[in-house]
Every structure is written in structure tokens, then in C-alpha cells.
Symmetry: C2
């Protein structure tokens, strides 16, 4: 769990640098002791906002009890700082959100929107003296239309709930982040979440048609469209996707749907003795024009953790395991699975197999699915990386991660969306070991630097939040960061929307 660090509100300065948010200039907090939430009490502006909200909102919307508020102050990012908010508003309607933002805007008080809090970058962490607006109780699915192939949902609808409701109507909402059983569509949109099947079917951005948004001034606007196509004006809906709560609060989402996939997938797995062989196999799959619907990688550290936890009997002499799934209609699926298998065996797989049996497929994918919980069993702090490099350099990046881990003496287990070049090195640190924590931080910075040097990005799907602010500046450079801040300032002139995060 994150430690508590007061994040001062930079509301007066939307161009505040990361160093101003975390005075040490580090991307995450550095308090060495868990501390109590700040009890110094709200400022005059804060008291005014609390009074206005108490007068405006239904009483069950506002949480001010410190013990309850404490459960809403951070997401799942390891070591990301957070502050003590004035209160948490558990909105039930767009009106609740608009009233809250208007009160905050009137007094220059920060607003932090939050879904289920499953983020991994600190994007939803509370800002000291601000108001957290929690959207998880706005969880109505308003419409699912097979004729228009779209759904209209409130932002607090859980990803898996939407997917299940779509499936009942023969439809499919593809974005499937690992957090799908808990994370909300609003949070997925705010972070432009990816997932397993985005290697073939795209990320959240590719499915957002329209949004209702409460702007930084508390106006309710609709951006985007219900139609299949549309090019009227600047794409403000697209701009909101991935903006991490820095431009407004999303209060309704219209998503594009696909027809449900009628076929049972075929699974192909391959174990590789070297990263180079694995990289060559991944490249061959891409270069041969194959399009697996899932294409994942699990490294030796993960395999060992799964074996330890579940006695899974996975071969621990393998450097990595590749897992692919094809979802074409038969017999094209068989041909594609055979071609993937050939790419694996031709490029040095020490063991490789293909299966159509759902039980066997599930067992094969178990190594991927169980990797994260198996590592959690170790009882260590786990900082999740999210770099993404050009597909052809994935194996090279993996090798760099191993080098960095060895050089810094940090235990790193990696899962990756192999087909996308998106790696999640999971950095394990013994709890309370400050020296190890420092080494982990150094390794974290080195991994970011290596990814940028390879033409990659510091965040493939988790978002900038607090953890990647330094990395963002490194990746984008001052001119582009300047453009980002100009756009942010145009839509949030007071700088009250999730200050200190991302932009």
C-alpha cells in the first residue's frame, strides 16, 4: 500500500513541475514512515466548499469521517504520494458532480475524480485540501443497442459488468484490462486502459464514441457523437480519453461495441531458453502477418513464483513463456495457430504446443493469470512498471531489465503484452527495507530511460499519474509538454482539475 505523503495543491499554477508536487523531485513520495492523515483542518476556502456542499448535496453523498475518507485517498500505485482531502463526494448523478465542481471552482479548490481506485500510477490519489469525487456509485448501464452497436453507461459501471451485459445481447466490449473485474469504465476512459486483447482489437480510446463531461467550471457538456462516423470540429472526446481527470469529470460514456465473437479460441504456447529466441519468434509472428487476439509473455521469475505458490510444474529452465490465442473462424484459426506454432519452433522454442480444449487453454494461460497474485504471495512491496517499446525491440528491452535488475540488486519479475511491446516489470522490494527501496527507485528510473532511448514510451497503458511525471517530460521534451500545458490551461484555467497529475 502507498505511504502517505502530503501532495500540496498547485492549483494556482497549472504548469507546476513534478518537483513542486513532490518536493524531492522524485516521481513518488519519500516519507519513510507511514503517517496519519493531516488533521490540521481545512483552509477558509475549504470550509466554504464544505459548507456549500453540505447545503447542496444530499447528506449521504458526502464523506468526512477521517476513517472513511482514508479509504479513498490513493489508488494501487506503490509509493505514490497523496494528501488529506476536505471530503469525498460519492456522486450519484451528473448534478452531484456539477454541483461539487462548481463549489470547488468558486473557491479554487482542487478536484480529484476517482473510479474504483485500481490505478497503478497514483492518478486518483487525493490532493491535500481538495475534494475527491468518487464515481463508483454512478453504475447504471443506460442503453445497449444492437442496432447502433453502442452502449451508454455511467462512469462507475464495472468493466466486467458491461462486458457481461453486452454478451447477453450478442455484443462485445473488447477493452479488457487485468483490473476488469473491479475497474470502472470511467476510470478506463480516463486512463485509456489497454488489456490483453488490444493487440488485435485496440485500446479503450478505440471504443469511445461520446462523453458527458463536467468541465472545470462546472458546466455539463456532451462531446463526441452517437453516429458511426463524424468529424465536426476538434476531437474533444478523444482529448478527454487518457487525460487522467486533468480536464474535467466524465459523467457518462458512450462506447462502440463489436458483435460477439462466435468461435472458441485456439491457444498456442512456447517456452524459450533465451530472450533472443523469444524476440525472434515474436518478430516472426508479426512479420508473417499473423494477428493473434492475445499475445503475452511471462518470464522465469513469474514461472517460479507460480510454481512455488501452486506447484504448477512449469519448466523453470525456460527464460520466458509466450502465450498466443487466435480467434479467427475455423479453419482459418487452425491455420493461424499452426503458423504461430511454426514461428515458435523455428525460432528455438524448447517446448511448444497448441490446443483448442478450453480447460487445457485455461491451464496454459494459468501461468499468465496467476503471475501477479503469485508474486503478491511473496509479501513484498510491488512497484509495477509499464514501459512500451517498438515491437521489434521487446526482447532487447527485456534483456535491459534483467541487466538493470542484476546491476541494482533488485528482484524484477516481468509479464508483457508481447505483441504490443508493452512490458510490466514488477519490481519487488522487501517491506521496510529502505536501502532496497532506493535501489528499486534507481532501477525504475533506469528502465524508463532505457525505454525512451529505444524509441518507446514510459507508459503503455497505466497512465502518467504521479509515478511517470518525470518520465513524461523526458519522453516528450519541453516543447510538447508546453503544448500539453497550454491545452490544459485552456480547459482548466484555474488548474483545479486533478492538479499535480499527468500534464
Amino acid at each position: 500500500m502507498p505511504e502517505r505523503v502530503t501532495v500540496d495543491s498547485p492549483a494556482a499554477d497549472p504548469a507546476a513541475s513534478p518537483a513542486e508536487i513532490a518536493p524531492e523531485g522524485r516521481p513518488f513520495g519519500t516519507a519513510t514512515e507511514p503517517a496519519e492523515l493531516d488533521t490540521s483542518g481545512p483552509s477558509a476556502a475549504g470550509r466554504a466548499v464544505l459548507a456549500e456542499l453540505a447545503a447542496t448535496l444530499d447528506p449521504d453523498r458526502m464523506l468526512t469521517d477521517p476513517d472513511v475518507v482514508r479509504t479513498y485517498v490513493h489508488d494501487e500505485a506503490e509509493w505514490a504520494g497523496y494528501g488529506t482531502p476536505l471530503c469525498v463526494v460519492r456522486a450519484r448523478s451528473t448534478d452531484d458532480v456539477a454541483a461539487t465542481v462548481r463549489a470547488c471552482a468558486a473557491h479554487g479548490v482542487p478536484v480529484v475524480p476517482r473510479g474504483a481506485g485500481t490505478g497503478l500510477s497514483g492518478g486518483a490519489n487525493a490532493v491535500a485540501g481538495g475534494v475527491v469525487i468518487c464515481l463508483e456509485r454512478m453504475r447504471t448501464i443506460r442503453e445497449i443497442s444492437p442496432g447502433e452497436r453502442l452502449a451508454v453507461v455511467e462512469p462507475g459501471v464495472v468493466n466486467d459488468d458491461l462486458r457481461a451485459a453486452c454478451a447477453e445481447r450478442g455484443l462485445w466490449y473488447p477493452p479488457d484490462p487485468a483490473s476488469a473485474p473491479w475497474s470502472t469504465i470511467g476510470g478506463n476512459v480516463a486512463t485509456n486502459a489497454g488489456g490483453l486483447c488490444c493487440v488485435k482489437y485496440g485500446v479503450t480510446r478505440d471504443y469511445v464514441l461520446a462523453l458527458e463531461v463536467v468541465t472545470a467550471t462546472g458546466e455539463v457538456v456532451r462531446v463526441g457523437r452517437r453516429t458511426a462516423k463524424g468529424v465536426v470540429g476538434l476531437d474533444l472526446a478523444g482529448l478527454m480519453v487518457g487525460s487522467e481527470g486533468t480536464l474535467g469529470v466524465i459523467t457518462e460514456v458512450t462506447v462502440k461495441l463489436r458483435p460477439a465473437r462466435p468461435v472458441a479460441p485456439r491457444t498456442v504456447v512456447g517456452f524459450f531458453g533465451s530472450l533472443a529466441d523469444c524476440g525472434a519468434a515474436v518478430a516472426a509472428v508479426t512479420e508473417r502477418g499473423l494477428q493473434p487476439a492475445i499475445f503475452e509473455l511471462v518470464d522465469r521469475e513469474c514461472l517460479q513464483a507460480v510454481n512455488t505458490w501452486k506447484q504448477a510444474g512449469l519448466p523453470e529452465d525456460a527464460a520466458v513463456l509466450l502465450l498466443a490465442q487466435t480467434d479467427l473462424p475455423e479453419p482459418a484459426a487452425e491455420a493461424e495457430a499452426d503458423a504461430i506454432l511454426a514461428a515458435f519452433t523455428e525460432h528455438g522454442a524448447t517446448e511448444a504446443m497448441s490446443s483448442t480444449d478450453p480447460v487445457e487453454s485455461e491451464a496454459l494461460f494459468g501461468a499468465r493469470r496467476l503471475a501477479y497474485p503469485a508474486l503478491e504471495q511473496l509479501g513484498m512491496d510491488m512497484l509495477t512498471e509499464d514501459v512500451c517499446v517498438p515491437r521489434g525491440r521487446m526482447a532487447e528491452m527485456l534483456a535491459r531489465v534483467e541487466e538493470i535488475a542484476a546491476a541494482r540488486g533488485v528482484r524484477i519479475a516481468t509479464v508483457a503484452h508481447a505483441g504490443d511491446g508493452n512490458l510490466h516489470p514488477l519490481m519487488l522490494t522487501p517491506r521496510g527495507d529502505e536501502a532496497a527501496k532506493e535501489r528499486t527507485r534507481a532501477a525504475f528510473d533506469e528502465i524508463i530511460a532505457a525505454a525512451v532511448a529505444m524509441g518507446g514510451t514510459v507508459t503503455g497503458e497505466h497512465g502518467v499519474g504521479l509515478l511517470k511525471r518525470d518520465g513524461m517530460v523526458r519522453e516528450l521534451g519541453p516543447e510538447v509538454v508546453g503544448l500539453q500545458r497550454a491545452v490544459k490551461a485552456a480547459l482548466d484555467p484555474q488548474g483545479i482539475m486533478n492538479p499535480g497529475k499527468a500534464v
Copy 2:
């Protein structure tokens, strides 16, 4: 061809309303006589820019001869106004573009970027006293990477040339606007162009990974990424797509590619006696989860024009013809073609057939392909509409178009991307008949109003340009237009980028 109307530069006021651009408050020019280009000569600022450009650019970059300049002052939008530019810069490099924008920015002179000039909304029309930057000579394909599934191209590369180069490497760039033999990738990106196959494969936006852009201050920046995924900061690359030259000049485009489709498509056609039957057939195809790669509509007026021109023998008693193509691997393609055929016949098709023969397919699609040139044979002015409505209301919109045509006494022929609800009513007016022109304008406005009333958009794929500025305000409302203008002002504080267009 458009008539000449001086579009005064509203550079000093980026929030200028359409009425300020076209003083009559109409979306297109109203000059009743074709006029000569303005020869009153440049302003002091204009003379300064011309002097700076002459000193900076290679002489072959600048066109100032009025007879040559005249060929660069408008796109293919009927009746859209344009002004006399200072000069045309035919850029050969990013440096040329940056030098030109810097000179214009220094003196507050408007910049109008332009590709091949095939636009249909007046977005590339010259602004009086501004500089037109023509990108068509920046036509190098810099990279096509099968391993990364991307291409890097200069903005003047013609769409079909990129598609052909990709095909040679087993790759496919899907966006296929009807202008693909002539239009440029830069223009396609600036307008977020659609096309035939976007019903299944998405529009230009879905394929743009990264852009090099010369900003309104003449800075060269790179936005977006080369990686398959990435969520670092606000999506400025996405914001540039469809911005119609109002935020900067695109000087390089990195596009995502797909593997080439290995299969021969199957074609299904159906003639329908009534719009209601056709609408029910289209709805059935969508609701049954079918995904044709092309799904087009041609109306009776078009069928008649093709018959007249080519003696094609198409049944003229049909109200509409639906054309679909499936590109699944066999035998799934056969099953999908059968299912589409069933949807047609079950919903009242008077004649329907399916074919795998490429020659027969081409003949069947001839009615669609030949509709536009056949109508051009009539020798009338042709104003192209581009409304897009929710899929389920396409037939209702078609019926409204027919009603409006009858009520206003305007000849309207319609082609449509049926699967997307995107209609192109082609409004035919006898040349020089001012009364007919007025009726056509009234019908144009009524079609826009009807589309907005149905929850549609005023432009599905052609862009706002000059023709849809009133419609844009009607569709988006003042709050969203205000947000658009705030973003525009943030990135183009002087308002010099393509002033008076779109935003």
C-alpha cells in the same frame, strides 16, 4: 468550380463567427458573378512576409504569378468562398514549412495548409492576404516496416501510392476515401477522411500513430508515438487529426498498418422497391452481428444517371441498391454472404444476388463507382452533402432527403455508406440558375437540420471547412464550440492557422 468570394482574414479574432467570414451569414459565398482575383496588392505585413520568404526559401518554392496562384485557391467544394493569397509556398521540407510559418507568425499573416485540393468543404480555400502552404511536393515514403506494422510518410504522399507500396510488402493501409487516387495522406489526416472500408476497419484517425507538426509559432514538434500503445499525456496527435489545418501544419505522418487481407471478397447486392424495406435490411445486417467490409447504397437518381451514361441496364424501378462485400476467410465468407443475402431477401429485396467472381463483383459495384462521374456528365453544379445519422435512422433520413428535394424542387441523387449511416446527397443545380441555387441552399440547410434533429452529425467524413460552420454550431451548441475555441486559441494564440475554417 467554386466562385470567388473574398474571405477576409479574421486573424485578429480566432473566435470569429461564420457571419464574420461570409458577411451574409451563409456557409458559402454568395457572389453572383465569378470575379477576378483581388489585385489590390498586399498589405504592409504581407509585403514583409513576401520579402522574408523570398530571402529565406529556395526560389522554386514560391509561386506569386497570379495565373499560377489561381490554381491553388480553392478545393472542390461547390460555392465555397475563397480569397486572394499573397503567395503559394510549395514546400519540399519541414524546414520550408517552418520558415514560412515563422514569417507569417511574425507578421500575423494567415497560413492555409493544403494537400491535393480534393476536399469538399472548402477547408483548403485560400484566405485573402494569407499564405497557402502546399504540401503535395513532400511526397516521400520514408519507411514501411512489416515488423512494426507502420509507415512513415511525408504529408503529400498520395493515398493510393501509400496503399500500393504497403501491398508490395504484404501490408495494408485501410482508409480508402473516394479521392484515394489523388488525395494526400496529410489531407486525409487533416480531415480525418473516411472511405468505403471504414464500416469495418475504421477511419483515418484509427490509423494515425504519430505526427510531426509545425505549430502556429513555427516550432517543429513530434506528437504521438511509434509504439503500438502509449498513454503519455494528452493525445495531441489525436487532436490534430481532423483539425483541418487550424492548429498547425502536418509535415510527417506515422500510420499504423494491418497485414494484407489474403482473401478474395464476396459481393452481395440487393435492389429494393422502398426505402423502408432497404432500411429494415440494413438494420437486420447490423443486428445479426454481420460485419461487411463494404456496405454501400445507391439511389434511383444515381442508377438512372449511370444507365443514361453507360447504358448499364440497371433496374430503374428500384428505389435503392444495396452493395455489400465480406472479406472473411472462407468458408466464413460464404456464410456471411449468405446471411447478408438472407437479410436482403427477407426484407423485401426485389432482386438480390451474391458473387465471388471479381469481374462480376466489379460490374455490380460499377453502379456505385460510376454514380459520381455519371452525375458529373449532366453538366450541373453539384454540391456534396455529408450528413451522418445513427445507423437505424438511415432510411428515415433518405426519405427526408427525398421530401426536401420534392418540396424545394431540387434534384438530389444520393450515395451512402449504408453501414455507417453516412449519406452523400448530391445536390444538382443548373449552372447559372440563381433561383435554383437559392432553393438548393435552402435544401442544404434543411438536410443539415434534419440530420441534427435525428441525433446525427453535419459531417461524417468531409469536414467542416466553410460549408458546415453554421451546421457545426447548430450541432455542438455554444458551450462545446466555446471549448473548441479555447483549445484553438491555446495552440494558435494569434489565430493565424487557417482562420475562418472549422473551429
